[in-house]
């Protein structure tokens, strides 16, 4: 059945194979969702307060694009600072916890338990400490992305083949050299997956913080429009955040491909 759809001929006419292929099915469902989005509010199947039509969402969004972009800029600023905390801090602590055996055996399990805590309840502490300005978003976003980055880095470091370390040490490498030239390159795939999850969570942390209490930012804009029942603006803001997350994910993949060019030969050569 599936192989038939690939080759598009197992006795069936070509048009049938194309119509019945999984890709057609997926596109048809996507089309149906978009069509439903446009028609349901228009025909009042769903109240337009709950769901604005696709066309009005896009049109109203682009009519106010300057407001959206200004707030997106605020969010991006907070996000960049938060990423420094999450990725930088997570990588450093991850290397420490992953490479020092007593810490790895005791602290690392504690860290992975803390990862299960719904960090969102900590946000009121930040607003009480530093107010509802940009600082609380940076701290909260940084905290949100810190643990996945830490855990992925430590996991990567931990799985480095001990023969590589032995070889490096027996050739007289210092601790710093071992970390820079053996551990990090070998742990790179895991570190990058930490960067991917960590930056996605940092972004969502910043936006969530803006939604709860803020004076600017895309999350703030979404919440403000929701309280005023400006449904189209709410949906447009949500779309922008999804696009932002998609862009971050894409940037990480670009970086991932670059990184794959730097290291694998060297690692295999050892």
């Amino acid at each position: 059945m599936s192989a038939g759809a690939d080759k598009a001929n197992d006795g069936r006419p070509l048009w049938l194979a194309v119509v019945a292929s999984p890709l057609t099915m997926r596109l048809a469902c996507l089309g149906a969702i978009l069509l439903f989005w446009e028609l349901a509010p228009r025909m009042e199947w769903i109240s337009p307060v709950m769901l604005s039509t696709l066309s009005s969402t896009v049109m109203i969004g682009f009519a106010n694009i300057d407001v959206f972009l200004a707030n997106l800029g605020v969010t991006l600023g907070s996000l960049l600072l938060a990423l420094v905390i999450a990725l930088g801090g997570g990588a450093v602590v991850g290397v420490l916890l992953g490479s020092i055996r007593p810490l790895r055996n005791t602290l690392l399990p504690i860290m992975s338990s803390i990862y299960a805590v719904p960090l969102v309840v900590v946000y009121p502490v930040f607003t009480a400490w530093v107010g509802i300005g940009v600082e609380s978003k940076v701290l909260f976003g940084g905290l949100y992305g810190f643990f996945p980055m830490l855990l992925a880095t430590a996991a990567g470091i931990r799985t480095v083949d001990s023969r590589y370390m032995l070889a490096a040490r027996s050739m007289g490498a210092t601790r710093v050299q071992v970390i820079l030239h053996v551990m990090l390159p070998a742990a790179l795939p895991s570190v990058i997956s930490g960067v991917r999850i960590g930056s996605a969570l940092t972004a969502i942390g910043v936006v969530v913080a803006e939604m709860m209490a803020a004076t600017a930012g895309i999350g703030f804009l979404i919440t403000q429009n929701r309280t005023m029942f400006n449904t189209a603006e709410v949906y447009f803001g949500v779309l922008l955040v999804v696009v932002l997350a998609g862009t971050i994910d894409w940037l990480v993949s670009v970086f991932e491909r670059r990184a794959a060019d730097w290291y694998p030969q060297k690692v295999r050569a050892i």
């Binding site: 999984p22 307060v49 005791t106 299960a116 805590v117 719904p118 009121p124 502490v125 999804v242």
Partner: protein, 250 residues
């Protein structure tokens, strides 16, 4: 014995952190008004467990979390197994689920408020929405983790269909599915608490958010401690089960 030593070391680390926190406040390193010491927070957390108002809100949050979990677990696992087992549906819809799983879901909360209001139903629906994608993806992984070698082997030895399901499929899939349930549960709890903190009239998240806004720092820290301990307990319980059913993997 080695495990006992490790556990002891971990307890010592946690105790040291609390001690450091206490000393930092006592010595004036941290301001007691914005960082209440554990000697105030811990007793408050314990008295909260006897406070009918807190218990009522805690019950509402737990009810939302449990209802969402009970509803979403079979749906998510069923969709995942279908996509993992059926080649056609897998190729049609897997990319969709992988894409949506990478999209931040918390930002859709306002949409749920527009659709369901700010009550119990909206919290349950949002908790389900947070959890379903990780469930589907882990169930897909579970279906794909059944080694064809084991199946071939079982058939060659004449295993019945029932034996193949019970002795091959179930043990192979269960650890991966339980891991998905654990992650789904974490996302579910986070989603419900976030929804309560965002807009609501009840629940632990609502209490925490109110305490924060009115600068009741001891209450706030005690509430965070309760929320954190409960979710760590749930997570560790599921992780223990995951390790138990996954023990055969070595």
């Amino acid at each position: 014995m080695k495990n006992a030593g490790r556990l002891l070391a971990q307890l010592a680390i946690v105790a040291a952190m609390f001690l450091f926190w206490e000393m930092a406040v006592r010595t004036g390193l941290a301001n007691a008004r914005i960082v209440p010491p554990p000697s105030e927070v811990l007793p408050r957390a314990i008295t909260m467990l006897g406070d009918p108002v807190v218990l009522h809100n805690l019950w509402i949050t737990s009810a939302q979390v449990m209802l969402a979990f009970v509803l979403v677990a079979p749906i998510g696992v069923a969709i995942g197994l279908l996509l993992g087992e059926s080649d056609y549906f897998g190729r049609a819809f897997k990319p969709f689920f992988f894409f949506v799983a990478s999209v931040p879901k918390s930002v859709f909360l306002p949409v749920f408020i527009l659709a369901f209001g700010i009550g119990f139903t909206q919290k349950v629906a949002f908790g389900m929405f947070q959890a379903i994608f990780v469930l589907v993806i882990s169930a897909i992984a579970a279906a794909e983790s059944v080694s064809p070698d084991y199946l071939k082997m079982a058939r060659a030895y004449g295993a019945s269909r029932r034996q193949i399901y019970v002795d091959i499929y179930l043990p192979a899939m269960l650890p991966v599915i339980v891991e998905g349930l654990r992650l789904g549960m974490i996302f579910n709890i986070t989603g419900v608490l976030f929804a309560e903190m965002y807009v609501s009239r009840a629940g632990l998240g609502h209490l925490v958010s109110t305490w924060g806004m009115s600068f009741q720092m001891v209450n706030l820290f005690a509430g965070i401690l309760l929320a954190a301990s409960l979710s760590i307990a749930v997570n560790e319980l599921l992780r223990w089960y995951e390790n138990r059913v996954g023990a055969w993997r070595g």
